[in-house]
Amino acid sequence: MEKNKFSITLRVWKQKDASSKGYFESYKVEGIIPDMSFLEMIDVLNEKLIKQGKEPIFFESDCREGICGCCGFVVDGNPHGPDEHSTVCQLHMRRFKEGDVVTIEPFRAKSFPIIKDLIVDRSALDKIIAAGGYISVNVGSAPDANTIPVDKNTAEKAMDYATCIGCGACVASCPNSAAMLFTGAKIAHLAYLPQGKPERTKRVLNMIKVMDSLGFGNCTNEYECEAVCPKEIKVGAIAKMNREFLFANFLSEEEPQLPPVFHKSTVDVPEDE
């Protein structure tokens, strides 16, 4: 069952650091086996480059089974590659054929500055979560888990939105580099659950405020995010966030403050000193 080896040309975005100018460099990759994953193909290329004393291609990956959200770049214009609803680590070379020219470039967004080559800084997403993507419960104070029943459909819906892996493909694919699907997914996950209800006003207003301050764009409902999301999160998340916002702005009596860490400055938080 020996499958044919083939070769492709890889056009890779190379960029030394955030302030340098980037460019495309072409590599000929030979001896590709269809069963290789795309990242393994780059591994093989990198090994060769290191052997030749050249700098390898910098990219990120961790679990390589599509759940950690670490990998992610754009393959021929598709965040995470041409397979639908999949991460790039799950993309396999059988998708390509002899002689293909494959262009890979980093996620491009104002809020995702390029660190090097295909690696971008997605820490802005963590800041959005820090603004309110949680339920405030202290360890040991929770009531018995079965105290509040949650109907199955609602629980499943919350789970649908909770599956977000934080890869940032939604931002990368959005024509406006908006993080609405990411933010909406977290808000929807918590808003659907009864446990998340007490903090809903604070959560939605603070998360949107911080999201705005980080330079993410606006939503024009083009649903490109939904089309590329590896976890198939639906734009219903954004609608839910919009509803939560309307509720918080017009019906709730609460006027929340941003959490303490955001008081000093809104953009330059929570990591590092």
Binding site: D43, E65, Y134, A142, T163, L193
Partner: protein, 637 residues
């Protein structure tokens, strides 16, 4: 000699934890801010510890190797989390979970620790639900549970096939809440390089900023390690690429005892490798064995299409060998049986390193739709990776390293042999003995982080007299300098082999000689091969780039640590002449070929102590006493 005092509280096992908490010293809420705590690792244990200590008011600094805390490998756990809730009224209790865990671990864990784990398990579920983890529910709105290997009841809570992800994101969100409150500071893309010990206490760490390459120092009153396991010593494992032993290894070198490194778990249902390029193995949930039948052809080298092999030429070897449990035997047994088949030359697939997992009969019985509903995502995953349709022809599976029960030795407080160094989660050795049951890893990580450390760390802080420690101290200087010179050394080698090649070679040695079946002969062979590979590494390593952001260098540092650590693992495996749990010594088996435990000589924890460079590690023993459960032989026939 290490002082191995487990500090188990006195009293009946059911009261130990409560009496511990009552007797523990407390820190006044106003004083908590004055204590700095360093946590390394943001997985389940690390993130939950940051959350619980942040809530209490300690000043927490948490470090992760990744770009964000949410990448930690806890996220990849699929199956579920055990808890003795007894929501199904099927006879579960704290005592039974304690019993199952201790027995599943082949009686190589500490009773008191395991009992405490079982005790807090139900609080974990309460807390997780309150923090918004969307566990699966029944139509009545209450929590659903399912069964899992090694237990005869349904105590596993789950969130689809992504329980680890949901629990990690839950713990992460709790930690981010403390970040927003200013109690926790996150330091991303930092790899711990060394532990700083001052006046005999762990007082800080030196980390490498992966983006700039700079070495940074952080001082604190206690250091909490939650850096996961070392399965990547086998190169191919189900662990993520970043998982490594470096942080634990540096603590070992600073005097922390390393316990039972040979206890590694091999998971039976992984997707086999497809070739030399393979970078990692993907696990498919154990639940597949509920409906799939495992078989190999009866004849050696049968290369026919599996669907063409008639029933009488198939060997359903698990059902044949273990009629009582059949395809549902525990992980270690299923893995070893698969290896036996492959060693007999009856392996299947292009590499001959796989066995079939066949759903044909169940599809016939239950219908395709039912199987799709139960396992659809796993079949999709299998298809995506192998390009084969598991519904039409049997899946090919093969065991792969998955979890490591061994780790840094800790006492009842989770403190290592270095005062002030606490170890949590997979990184410590404590609760799973020689074999971990499915759905117990998540339970342990959260138990340690949310519930245990938040009681034991204050006791240490309140009862210890602290001297001044500052990052300008000579201990920090020395530590940083040695790390720097080690890195310089790597650059000065200028050889021809990449770090990855060394890692692959190491993995091969370990897998061949210290994988599922271990023998004195093979281990001794490996104990020659590994040091010589290490020597080659020191003379022939090829690096590119500079000391700044350099992924090749990161890999080289991790491989260096694995090369050193592997020897300890082999040594421990050689020392432990019995077979127990995940550790199978071919010399120690029953006449039927099953694992033969030796309680007389090995009912202890083997704790290895660093003796200095190029010196043999010294062995210390913590005798295990079983007051409440008498060791019995595991039988699944």
């Amino acid at each position: 000699m290490l002082k191995l005092d487990a500090k188990i509280p006195s009293g009946h096992i059911e009261q130990k934890w409560d009496s511990y908490k009552f007797n523990a010293k407390l820190v006044n809420p106003n004083n908590r801010r004055k204590f700095d705590v360093i946590i390394v690792g943001t997985g389940l244990a690390g993130a939950s510890a940051a959350a619980s200590l942040g809530e209490a008011g300690y000043n927490v600094m948490i470090f992760t190797i990744s770009e964000t805390p949410r990448r930690a490998h806890s996220i990849a756990a699929q199956g579920g989390i055990n808890a003795s809730k007894n929501y199904r009224y099927d006879g579960d209790s704290v005592y039974r979970l304690f019993y199952d865990t201790l027995k599943g671990g082949d009686y190589r864990a500490r009773e008191a620790n395991v009992y405490r784990l079982a005790q807090v398990s139900s609080q974990i579920i309460d807390h997780c639900v309150a923090t918004g983890v969307p566990f699966a529910r029944e139509y009545g709105g209450l929590l659903d549970t399912r069964s899992f290997g090694g237990a005869q009841l349904q105590r596993t809570f789950y969130a689809r096939g992504q329980t680890g992800q949901q629990l990690l994101l839950g713990a992460y969100s709790q930690m981010m809440r403390q970040v927003s409150e200013g109690n926790v500071k996150i330091f991303t893309r930092r790899e711990m390089m060394d532990l700083v010990v001052k006046n005999g206490k762990a007082r800080g760490i030196v980390v490498r900023n992966l983006l700039t390459g700079e070495l940074e120092r952080y001082a604190a009153h206690a250091v909490l390690l939650a850096t996961g396991g070392y399965s990547n010593v086998f190169y191919l494992s189900t662990n993520a690429a970043a998982c490594n032993v470096g942080a634990a290894w540096s603590c070992y070198k600073k005097g922390a005892g390393f316990a039972n490194p040979c206890f590694t778990q091999i998971h039976p249902t992984c997707i086999p490798r497809s070739g030399e390029h393979q970078s990692k193995l993907t696990l498919m949930s154990e639940s597949l064995r509920n409906d799939g039948r495992v078989w190999v052809p009866k004849n050696k080298g049968d290369k026919r299409n599996p669907n063409d092999i008639p029933e009488n030429e198939r060997d359903y070897y698990l059902e044949r060998m273990y009629p009582a449990f059949g395809n549902l035997v525990p992980r270690d047994i299923a893995s070893r049986a698969a290896k036996k088949m492959i060693d007999e030359g009856r392996g299947v697939g292009p590499t001959g390193e796989a066995v079939y997992l066949d759903f044909r009969d169940e599809i016939k019985r239950q219908g395709l739709d039912k199987i799709k509903e139960k396992y659809g995502n796993l079949f999709d995953m299998y298809y995506r990776i192998t390009d084969e349709d598991g519904y039409k022809s049997p899946m090919r599976i093969y065991p792969a390293p998955h979890y490591t029960m061994g780790g840094l030795w800790v006492d009842y407080n989770l403190m290592s042999t270095i005062p002030g160094l606490f170890v949590m989660g997979e990184a410590n050795f404590s609760d799973h003995g020689a074999n971990r049951l499915g759905a117990s890893a998540l339970m342990q990580g959260l138990a340690d982080g949310y519930f245990v450390i938040s009681s034991t760390l204050p006791n240490y802080l309140a009862s210890t007299k602290f001297e001044e420690a500052h990052i300008e101290d000579s201990e920090f200087n020395d530590s940083e300098n040695s790390v720097r010179s080690e890195i310089k050394k790597l650059f000065s080698i200028k050889g021809n082999k990449t770090p990855n090649e060394f890692h692959k070679e190491l993995g091969n040695i370990m897998w061949e000689n210290c994988g599922m079946g271990r023998s004195e002969e093979k281990l001794k062979k490996a104990l020659k091969l590994v040091p010589s590979l290490r020597d080659e590494f020191r003379n022939n390593l090829k690096l590119v780039g500079d000391e700044g952001f350099n992924q090749t260098l990161e890999k080289a540092i991790r491989v260096r640590d694995f090369l050193e650590f592997a020897e300890l693992l082999l040594k421990d495996a050689l020392y432990r002449k019995e077979s127990c749990g995940g550790h199978f010594r071919e010399e120690s088996k029953t006449p039927e070929g099953e694992a033969q435990r030796d309680d007389e000589n090995f009912a202890h924890v083997a704790v290895w102590e660093y003796a200095g460079e190029n010196k043999e590690a010294e062995l210390n023993k913590e005798q295990l006493t079983f007051e409440y459960l008498k060791p019995s032989t595991r039988s699944y026939k």
